[in-house]
Structure formats: structure tokens, C-alpha cells
Symmetry: C2
Subunit: 212 residues, 2 copies
């Protein structure tokens, strides 16, 4: 039977995986909301982010408490510190999904993203969601190989982000400034969401291998 200390360590890992699932789902729904001017779904995403924030707070409190009471050394110490950092990344990913949903809400009943850019934004949403799910798997399996592969998927996100800017700057009738602002911000939110997923993956590589 495992002791209470190791049960608490495991529960911190389980919370991180739960956060990964929640932010993946939040980004999926935020993308649907902004593609369809779905106000109800946007409101749902915005409200649901409180849950991610609460999980982070609870996780951080437990981690700090473990540090103070158990004075862990070496591997366990590194695991706890890394968990604190991963929870900060995941919490921020939740904020960014909420930001996408807020743009959807702001422009309702209009659709913030022009029709011909929607495929690119949908693809950014799909990749972001997948990256978030993978962070959960990487944390669950302490999977360094999957963590290394995740960077390649972030490259795909960066390519889509650049494609979005190119499309905004197309020849012909220019987009309204409001559209340029919305698309620029939304593109940035997806890109940063992916950056934080990469950050989680890198922290796992560091935790397992000691390489940064």
C-alpha cells in the first residue's frame, strides 16, 4: 500500500491531467463558438474557466503544503516544482481559450472570423486541442518521446499563424480594421495556447532527463 505522501504526489499528477482535458475541451468549444457566433457556448467557455483556476489554486496549495511538511529531496522535489510550473501553463491555456470565447461574445451576432479564414482558424483550434490532450498523456506517462514530438506539431501551429497573417494581408479589397484586430488577437491566442503546451512538454523532458 502506498503512503499518504505518495498518494498526494499522485493526486497532483491527476489534477494536471484533469486540467489538460478541461483546457482541451475549452479550446474546442471556444473554436466552435467563434466559428458559429454561438453566444451560449461562448458564455459556457467563459464561465467554465473558473474551474481550471480553482484546480490550479488547489493544486498549488497542496504542492506547497507537501514541500513544507515532507521536505522532499531530489526526484520528488523536482516533480513538485515542475507540477507548479505545469499548472501555471495549463491555467494560462484556460485563459487563452476564454479569450477566444470573449471575442466570439463581443462580436455576436456577427461571426468574428471572415468565411475564407475560418478553415485556418478551425485548424488552429484542432491542433491546439490535440496539443492540450497530448500534454495530459505526456504527464500521465512521463513520456519524453511524445514530449519531443509535440514540438513538431507546434511548428504546424506556427505555419497556420503565419498563413493567417498572409491571408489578412491579401490583395484586393482590404478587410475592415475591426476584422484585422479580431483575427490578429485570436491568432495570437491560439499560438500562445500552443506555446504553453510546448512548455509543459519541455518541463516533462527536463523532469525526466535533466536536460533543458
Amino acid at each position: 500500500m502506498r503512503d499518504v505522501y505518495h498518494e498526494e504526489l499522485d493526486s497532483i499528477g491527476a489534477t494536471l491531467i484533469e486540467m489538460s482535458g478541461l483546457v482541451a475541451s475549452a479550446l474546442n468549444q471556444a473554436t466552435t463558438a467563434i466559428m458559429n457566433a454561438d453566444l451560449q457556448l461562448a458564455e459556457k467557455v467563459i464561465a467554465a474557466d473558473d474551474q481550471v483556476d480553482a484546480l490550479q489554486k488547489a493544486l498549488d496549495a497542496r504542492a506547497l503544503d507537501l514541500l513544507a511538511r515532507q521536505q522532499p529531496v531530489a526526484g520528488d522535489l523536482r516533480t513538485i516544482i515542475t507540477s507548479l510550473r505545469m499548472s501555471a501553463d495549463l491555467e494560462r491555456m484556460g485563459d487563452l481559450a476564454r479569450h477566444v470565447a470573449k471575442v466570439a461574445r463581443l462580436r455576436y451576432p456577427e461571426i468574428a472570423i471572415p468565411e475564407e479564414l475560418r478553415q485556418t482558424v478551425a485548424e488552429m483550434g484542432r491542433i491546439g486541442e490535440e496539443l492540450a490532450h497530448k500534454t495530459g498523456e505526456i504527464i500521465d506517462g512521463r513520456d519524453v518521446e511524445a514530449a519531443r514530438l509535440l514540438e513538431a506539431e507546434d511548428d504546424a501551429m506556427d505555419r497556420l499563424h503565419r498563413a493567417l497573417f498572409s491571408a489578412l494581408l491579401h490583395e484586393g479589397t482590404p478587410y475592415p480594421v475591426e476584422t484585422a484586430i479580431d483575427v490578429t488577437l485570436v491568432g495570437r491566442y491560439y499560438e500562445r495556447f500552443a506555446d504553453h503546451a510546448v512548455s509543459v512538454a519541455r518541463r516533462m523532458i527536463f523532469l525526466v532527463t535533466g536536460d533543458y
Copy 2:
């Protein structure tokens, strides 16, 4: 005479203060660079960010080493964990100053910010720089009162950020999409820079009072 342990704790605080000064100066120079299409200054800011990153890495290594070797409890433990979080905020502020400089470089020899928006951007730069300097003072003095006041200054940044969007959306001849993209991103960088300064201030309040 203080022991080595407390000297190391002090040196972590000194590094945070040094980082505050560097990111304040980086934002000042990045703002000058983007106002004047000053390529040399932009390149200088971009290159100088490596120093902030190196300070963060060294600080984090020292903090983790202290945690592992000294197994600090209560106040010292909280100080070290808070230092790790502040160093992450300050490192990100350095990135954001570098992002502003990169927009300056991208548009050189053009000036990325239209003339009539420059006063607002200059003011955002001034406030951001001041916030960064204040984080240094707050860390140095563990100054909860100054930390609380810092939020009011961030409100000024948010107002300027909204004013920037309003100006972009003015009546009359619309801005080119490229300008809308640049101003949107730059505005966001300043706003996020200020958010991280507020985060440092809040962490000090938490460290000293235990309130979050």
C-alpha cells in the same frame, strides 16, 4: 555575520531586482526603437534579452539547489517558491519588450506606429517601464503598500490599451491592415508586460500577508 544560506537567499532577491531593472530598460529602448524606426536600438534590445534569460536560469538553478540542500521551511520556503514565480514573470516581461523591438525591426525603415497613435504608445511604454522599476522596489522593500498601488497604474495601462483600439477604429480613411496588425500586437505586448508586473506585485502581497 550572515551564513551562506542567507547570503544565497539575499542573492536571489538581488537577481530579481537586477532583472526588473533590465526589463524596464529593455521596454524603454524598445519603445524608442519603435517610435523612431531605430534598427540598431531594436537589435540591441533583441540581443540583450539573452541576459535576462540567463539570469532567470541561474536564479532558478540556485533556488532549486537551495530547496534541495537546505530544505527550508515556512517563510524561507515561501520566499524561494515566490522567487521562482517572479523570475518567470520578469523573464516574460523581457520577451515582451523584445517582441516590441521585433516589430520595429520588421517594419524598418518604416515606423510601425502611425504618427497620431505614437503619443498613446509612448505613454504605454512609459507606464510599462515605471511598473517594471516599481517591481524592483517592491521586491527590495517587500513593500505591500507599493504593491497594492501598482494595480492602479495597471488600470492606466488598460485605459491606454482601449484608447489604442478606439483610435485604430476611427472614422474616416481606414488604416492599412498591416498597421492594424502591428498596432494590435504591440498594444497587446505592452498590456501583457504590465499584467506580469502586477503579477509580481501580487506575489509579494501573498508572500508577506498570505492573502491571495
